[in-house]
């Protein structure tokens, strides 16, 4: 028989390979693991395309870029009420809230040791503006100049007391202009087509922040290492590993109470059953809103103010908030409670079915069914289909017929953008932590309102005036009050029905300190996290 020997040879070869492998392992030196005991692991479902501050706007990108770069001003921990100095040691606002003068600190240096100068700030903010990416909206009205090496003057074409807050955002990070230019960075008006810096910034951070990039893979993990030349307080963890992980996996991982690990996406029902030793911090920063089209050509029902009011009265706001778990709150106005300008919880909207039925009868719309478009996805740990099913059920109790219309996110965004949708539902977040920024979009004639067919002619004049007052008020405290007045009117006379607020939640292992959720826009400052 001749078949057996070759088979034996194969077996012998396989065994030899395995033995060699085992030998290699036995003889191999201990692998360089880059300081495993000082590694902080951040579990999050990645939403990131680039680590270039000029184009970053997604949640994961914001967390990472905030750790890599400094901005002129920032927030102290989770306190987002007032910006504090970062690269700027002080700033001064003009009375007309159009000119802001920042004085830079002397000791800040980039990761290559080069001092941070006003020219770097001018380059970075001009590049951000001229790249015309998503983040460019925050600086589109700004002009930046540098009278001397340590002074930056930011001028806005529109009076806005909140300019310093906008400049806390990771997109407004300051790049090392010399390094940036060497690698294709352009800050001129042609930056949108001429700039070639982004790919370089995905592998090398040209910033002055506490960390630098060790590796970047937008699909699996991002690793940061400490910046050896960091000018501020050295972070406790020498290495931060962001792992791309879905929510269920994050829950399983944190349920085992690991050490030096945090999860960024557990929210709503996904928090149920987590071990009590874990730390949880949160802040209601997301609002869930129905948008109804005010154009009769789109829908006779949603353009009928009484039908809208009937729907508003039919909603069980507390019941909807309960679907979000402990972080859910019934909406009082539009602005979530994390931000200045939110209405007090005592003003939370309540269900009134009798009123809803009466208003429906007065509307004359009858039992006409209206399609409710929503993105078929889970957001903040809650399936949006569950929320819309509750909306449909509440509406039905008042005799209002809604037809659920789930759509893939791309289709949803496209339809909503086209502005031909009678009714849609989606979660909303602020672009930066200034509630007044929503007003210009949502007030009649604003970009979002126009997509809902809400023109000034179709709007209540008092509501329009209240919106204009918010934008014209320059004193922050007065602006907060104006914002609250505007929301009270919007609650009664707008095509928006805000249903609930939900918290972003940061879950951290028990051994960590300073792992605090912030509504600032970067979720957490990983450089602030330490060992207990």
């Amino acid at each position: 028989m001749k078949a057996a020997p070759p088979a034996r040879r194969v077996l012998a070869t396989t065994a030899a390979v395995l033995l060699a492998l085992a030998g290699l392992v036995a003889c191999g030196s201990d692998d360089a693991s880059s300081g495993s005991d000082a590694t902080l692991t951040v579990d999050t479902s990645f939403v990131v395309k680039s680590l270039d501050p000029g184009v970053v706007y997604e949640p994961t990108g914001n967390v990472v870029v905030h750790a890599l770069y400094d901005t002129l001003v920032t927030f102290d921990g989770a306190d987002i009420s007032k910006p504090v100095g970062d690269l700027a040691k002080s700033y001064q606002a003009s009375d007309d809230a159009k000119t802001f003068t920042f004085t830079l600190r002397d000791d800040a240096v980039f990761s290559d040791g080069t001092p941070v100068t006003s020219a770097d700030v001018v380059f970075s903010l001009n590049r951000l503006k001229n790249l015309k990416g998503s983040a460019a909206t925050i600086v589109k009205n700004l002009t930046v100049t540098a009278p001397d090496e340590h002074t930056v003057v930011v001028t806005s074409s529109v009076a806005d007391p909140n300019i310093p807050i906008m400049l806390t955002m990771p997109a407004a990070s300051v790049l090392n202009s010399k390094v940036a230019k060497e690698h294709g960075g352009v800050d001129g008006e042609n930056a949108a087509t001429a700039d070639k810096l982004s790919n370089y910034l995905n592998t090398t951070a040209a910033g002055s922040g506490p960390y630098v990039i060790e590796s970047f893979d937008a699909a699996s993990r991002i690793v940061l290492a400490t910046n050896p030349k960091y000018w501020g307080t050295k972070p406790a963890f020498g290495r931060v590993v962001f792992q791309n992980m879905d929510i269920q996996n994050q829950k399983l991982t944190l349920s085992k109470v690991p050490t030096a690990e945090i999860a960024l996406d557990l929210s709503g029902s996904s928090l149920d059953g987590l071990p009590t030793e874990l730390q949880q911090t949160s802040s209601p920063s997301v609002y869930y809103q129905l948008r109804l089209d005010a154009d009769p050509a789109i829908s006779k029902a949603t353009s009928n103010p009484k039908w809208v009011a009937a729907l508003r009265a039919a909603m069980d706001y507390q019941g909807i908030a309960d679907l979000f778990g402990p972080g859910g709150e019934p909406a009082a106005g539009i602005v979530p409670t994390a931000y200045a300008g939110a209405l007090p919880a005592s003003e939370a909207q309540k269900q009134d079915l009798a009123k809803a039925k009466q208003l429906l009868a007065e509307s004359g719309v009858g039992d006409q069914s209206v399609k409710l478009l929503y993105p078929a996805l889970t957001f903040g740990g809650v399936d949006l289909g569950t929320i819309t099913a509750k909306v449909q059920s509440d509406a039905a109790k008042a005799g209002i017929k809604l037809e659920l219309d789930p759509a893939p996110i791309a289709s949803f965004l496209d339809q909503r953008k086209a502005g031909k949708v009678p009714m849609s539902f989606s979660p909303q977040q602020l672009n930066y932590p200034v509630a007044a920024s929503q007003v210009s979009d949502l007030m009649p004639g604003g970009a979002d309102a126009m997509k809902a067919g809400w023109t000034e002619e179709r709007a209540d004049p008092a509501t329009v005036a209240a919106g204009k007052k918010v934008l014209a008020t320059l004193d922050p405290a007065d602006q907060v009050k104006a914002l609250q007045d505007w929301q009270r009117l919007m609650r009664e006379h707008s095509p928006y029905i805000t249903l609930a607020y939900n918290s972003g939640v940061l879950v951290a292992s028990p051994d960590l300190t300073g792992a605090t959720y912030t509504a600032a826009g970067w979720t957490v400052d990983v450089a602030d996290i330490g060992h207990s």
């Binding site: 028989m1 078949a3 492998l21 290699l24 392992v25 191999g28 201990d30 692998d31 360089a32 693991s33 880059s34 495993s36 590694t39 692991t41 395309k49 680039s50 270039d52 706007y57 015309k132 990416g133 998503s134 983040a135 460019a136 909206t137 589109k140 949108a192 087509t193 982004s198 790919n199 995905n202 060790e214 590796s215 893979d217 937008a218 699909a219 699996s220 993990r221 690793v223 590993v241 792992q243 791309n244 992980m245 879905d246 269920q248 996996n249 399983l252 991982t253 349920s255 893939p408 996110i409 791309a410 289709s411 965004l413 496209d414 339809q415 953008k417 672009n431 979009d441 970009a447 979002d448």
Partner: protein
């Protein structure tokens, strides 16, 4: 009774007998030419197929409701016409569709698959990064699946209609009916959360830096760069996704193997071989298995291609950054260059696998080689 004449052919009982050397030389030249013609024809078909794929994919992406600006720009940015215009100009979306298509095709001829709107990197370098990750789970899963399904399928065929056969068929049916994502989640729960013997996903533990990129497969690269600890950590991370893929592929293959082997077992030449007094082990291994493998290879080729292109859910659950996740992100972001790149990759995989299967037929079955 089928194939009676084949069974009567004594050559089939000694398939590895060396041909006559005098007559063999011209015959070998003829065979090499035939093989070259065959491969050449396949290459031409592949090129045509790939061009066809670009047309179909391009048209399908245009038909999908959705605008790349809506998925790639923030909602506020979409309200700014200057930003939208800059985005469209940057990605060539402001040009007529025909121009966009032929620009793409022109670049493709030069090996340029374009730049992904999702990653900002060239699609080619993205694929070079993500395909090895998928290969790293697909290859071991396929090898294990073949070994298990051939052994178990043959065993079931030999024990046709006995308890073991019923159990194996039932098990295969159960495996086929099990949703892949469910199995993946359950295994993760059991092996990671309950037993604590598996990692929670990813390709490597957070404490290790990936090995230097040589092949893109961490296990191989770790060995090549002399990092055994990283090698074993990478193997540890492979275990669960490979187990899930193996379970699913075995379930699909076993039934084919069993029926293929049953068909061969019914042949007269098997009866003749047994009657000649050959040991049963030899009959099964040299005559039944070899003949039955032709059909098995066809199905295995498709299964392997499917593993390379259809592991989206498994990759998602195990945070495995392979081509499936890349395709998913491309689709969600309406990232046309990436979608086209993945489409071409999948078409190429199926074509190459089919070519390999065609060539393997000849290796396994001399009758096909001679024809």
């Amino acid at each position: 009774m089928t194939g009676g004449t084949l069974g009567a052919d004594p050559v089939d009982l000694t398939p590895d007998r060396a041909p006559d050397t005098d007559a063999g030389a011209p015959h070998a030249v003829h065979r090499r030419r035939a093989l070259a013609r065959f491969v050449g024809r396949k290459v031409l078909i592949t090129i045509g197929l790939l061009v066809g794929v670009t047309v179909v994919t391009f048209l399908l992406v245009q038909l999908v409701p959705g605008d790349p600006t809506a998925t790639n720009l923030s909602e506020t940015a979409q309200n700014d016409p200057a930003i939208v215009a800059a985005y469209r100009a940057k990605w060539g979306l402001d040009k007529p569709l025909v121009v966009q298509y032929f620009t793409y095709l022109g670049n493709l001829v030069h090996g340029d698959l374009g730049v992904s709107q999702s990653t900002g990197d060239s699609v080619l370098s993205d694929l070079a990064k993500y395909v090895p990750a998928t290969l790293e789970i697909a290859i071991p899963a396929m090898v294990l699946s073949l070994i298990i399904s051939v052994a178990v399928g043959l065993w079931a065929a030999v024990r046709k209609d006995r308890a073991a056969d019923h159990a194996i068929r039932g098990g295969a049916l159960l495996g086929l009916s099990t949703p892949s994502f469910w199995l993946a989640i359950v295994l993760l729960y059991v092996f990671f959360y309950v037993l604590g013997i598996a990692p929670n996903g990813g390709r490597l533990s957070a404490k290790y830096a990936p090995p230097e990129h040589i092949t893109g497969m961490y296990t191989v690269d770790a060995l090549l760069t002399g990092r055994p600890t990283v090698f074993w950590d990478a193997v540890w991370h492979l275990a669960l996704p490979v187990l899930v893929l193996t379970c699913l592929t075995v379930s699909a293959l076993i039934r084919f193997v069993r029926s293929a082997m049953l068909e061969v077992l019914d042949q007269d030449y098997i009866t003749a071989a047994t009657a000649k007094g050959l040991p049963r082990r030899v009959v099964l291994r040299r005559h039944v298995l070899r003949a039955g493998l032709v059909q098995v290879i066809t199905v295995s080729g498709l299964a392997f291609a499917s593993l390379l292109s259809g592991t989206v859910l498994i990759e998602q659950i195990y945070s495995w950054p392979g081509v499936g996740q890349y395709a998913y992100r491309a689709a969600v972001n309406l990232d046309l260059p990436a979608i086209m790149g993945v489409g071409l990759f999948v078409a190429l995989v199926y074509t190459l696998v089919n070519l390999a299967v065609d060539l393997l037929y000849g290796v396994i079955d001399p009758r096909i080689r001679l024809s």
